[in-house]
């Protein structure tokens, strides 16, 4: 659909885009992302010729945009900008049907299209068609901004940080709506943002740019799993990488729980538990295979009757455990569902590799939500 071939945009003092090669297939939603000044917006604006490349060519459906009349070209391409830019002197209806009007659609068809679009995003045309932009909230205004870009049924839409200026709630709902619209209409979309969450949420493919160059082109999943280099990884953010690996139970367990051997004396066990400030220890054999557990109360109660931990350890019923291949979610479900205080993690040979406690679970969740808490 869109093809960038050796595209360069150089200004007097710096090069905004260095030799860009990129192909965007029909129907794909591509997100260009990168820090400010990485050339993402320049790249976008070269498609509808708001910016002319210094060298190289851009093709839309195999037509070189350079050979097309820019005004005619732009009418075939939907365009949404961050500052929304609705025409304040026009009603919502007039705003949406600007391009159809420029293209000379008959009035009847234009009206039908406006009503259809408004209904598509759940805005009652009877209420909104004749309002003015300043009578709408920011989120509603940008919803109209998106509809305006869709009005003439363009095969391609360019969106330049369209939701960047909205409040988080409006942003979220517009993202959902865009995703929805895109999956229904399948219009090729180039979307610029600096918000990684937005990119991961919306993109079929993410194009990470830095200093005028493409660093990585990948699906959101690949991007998270295999960032091409440190730049991409740091741009994705440590939190998100952690958040992603929350999928494995290994990431939320305490890797080195307090353990004792069955031969250990009770006094020694009690001293260890005091030192480590725990109320329960796991009992393992020489190969660190899990045998059972001992609570501090049992130790206290039985210290006259027994000599070693092996004699008093709790083996029946056997402890609920989880395999290290399991997902974090399974561990959460087990702990919450069975009201466990802790959940030992075993590898395939029943060797103890870690322990999930309510504490470790909460702190893993907290770091996924707020970033690395207390580290």
């Amino acid at each position: 659909m869109v093809k960038f071939k050796n595209v360069v945009k150089a200004y007097e003092n710096h090069v905004a885009v260095k030799n860009l090669n990129l192909e965007i297939p029909e129907g794909e939603l591509v997100v260009l992302i990168g820090p400010s000044g990485c050339g993402k917006t320049t790249t976008l604006k070269m498609v509808n010729r708001l910016i002319e490349p210094t060298s190289g060519s851009i093709f839309i459906r195999d037509r070189n945009v350079k050979d097309l009349n820019p005004v005619a070209l732009r009418r075939e391409i939907g365009y949404v900008i961050q500052q929304i830019g609705l025409f304040p002197n026009m009603t919502i209806e007039q705003n949406i049907d600007v391009v159809p009007r420029l293209l000379g659609w008959p009035a009847e068809k234009r009206k039908r299209r406006v009503y259809e679009l408004l209904e598509m995003v759940g805005m009652d045309p009877e209420i909104y068609a004749h309002r003015y932009p300043n009578e709408l909230s920011g989120g509603q205004q940008q919803r109209i901004g998106v509809l305006r870009a869709l009005a003439a049924e363009p095969p391609l839409i360019l969106m330049d940080e369209p939701f960047g200026a909205l409040d988080p709630i409006a942003r979220e709902s517009l993202q959902d709506e865009l995703k929805n619209l895109h999956s229904r209409l399948n219009i090729t979309t180039i979307f610029v943002t600096h918000d990684m969450d937005e990119a991961l949420k919306l993109a079929d493919r993410v194009v990470v740019m830095n200093q005028g160059e493409v660093v990585q082109v990948a699906t959101p999943e690949t991007l998270l799993r295999n960032p091409a280099n440190d730049f991409v990884a740091s741009f994705i953010g440590k939190n998100r990488l952690n958040g992603d690996s929350l999928q494995s139970v290994v990431e939320i367990m305490l890797p080195d729980p307090v353990t004792v051997h069955p031969q250990m004396g009770l006094a020694e066990g009690l001293a260890l538990m005091k030192r480590k400030k725990v109320d329960t220890v796991l009992v393992v054999d020489e190969q660190r295979r899990l045998l059972g557990s001992v609570a501090v109360e049992t130790l206290d109660r039985e210290h006259k009757r027994a000599r070693t931990i092996g004699e008093i350890m709790n083996q029946d019923p056997p402890l609920t455990t989880i395999r290290s291949q399991a997902s974090a979610k399974e561990a959460f479900d087990l702990i919450i569902g069975e009201k466990l205080k802790y959940l030992p993690v075993l590898d395939e040979n029943d060797v103890l590799v870690g322990l999930v406690t309510r504490n470790s679970m909460v702190s893993a969740l907290a770091s996924a939500v707020w970033g690395d808490v207390g580290e």
Binding site: A72, R74, Y79, I84, G85, F87, P88, N89, V99, G145
Partner: protein, 223 residues
């Protein structure tokens, strides 16, 4: 106190009698005055509005042009008339020329700043959606700049209506005529016969154009 009040009442009734007997003079002067001032504002509009639009994307040139019209504004009106005397002689032509030049600055400045003041996001949206420069001007820029342009015309009109009294000095007629007569004959009645209608005309022009300004403001831009 009572004496002064009685004197005032007597004077007012004298003045009304005076106007009554000179009504034809007052009417002619007012007509000439309207003709002079609105003629020059109209001319000013015809030149300054298109010029302001044309200059709106030529910042450097615009600065120079605005500096020139700004300088014109600082020349005292009477001196200006004197300067044009050898060129254009006496009568309506030099009067209107000077008034026209004075009307340029407010209209030009407001047109220029009005168009420049249109939200760049709106302009970018218009261009990005495929409006030609002409469509952008007529569909977006002019409607949005219109209230500012009208405000410029209103300012110009109010000024010009009062400055048009100067035309009397070069035989251009208007409400300056009775004022000048009044000054030369030390007759306050004549001065007031020119000054009062001139002031009323200025007020009326300001009021009418203020209405137009409000009506011209797109609904979407009103508070």
């Amino acid at each position: 106190m009572l004496w002064r009040l009685r004197f005032g009442v007597m004077w007012v009734s004298d003045f009304i009698d005076f106007i009554r007997s000179n009504l034809d003079v007052a009417a002619v002067a007012t007509y000439q005055h309207l003709y002079l001032s609105f003629g020059s504002v109209l001319l000013g509009m015809l030149i300054a509005v298109p010029l302001g639009i044309w200059l709106s994307d030529k910042e450097r040139l615009a600065e120079k042009v605005l500096a020139v019209t700004g300088t014109i504004q600082t020349v005292p009106g009477l001196a200006f008339l004197g300067l044009f005397l050898p060129l254009l002689g006496l009568g309506v032509v030099p009067s209107m020329t000077v008034l026209f030049l004075y009307s340029l600055l407010p209209i030009l400045t407001n047109t220029y700043t009005g168009i420049r003041g249109v939200n760049p996001a709106v302009v970018e949206a218009g261009i990005g959606m495929g409006m030609s420069p002409r469509q952008l001007l007529f569909m977006v820029k002019l409607p949005l700049a219109f209230p500012v342009i009208i405000a410029g015309i209103r300012i110009a009109s109010v000024y010009i209506v009062s400055w048009a009294t100067l035309a009397a000095f070069v035989g251009g007629g208007g409400l300056g005529d009775p004022i000048l007569t009044g000054i030369m004959t030390a007759d306050i009645n004549f001065i007031l016969m020119g000054a009062i209608p001139a002031a009323l005309l200025a007020l009326a022009a300001g009021w009418i154009l203020g209405m137009v300004e409000r009506l011209a403001t797109p609904r979407g831009l009103r508070g």
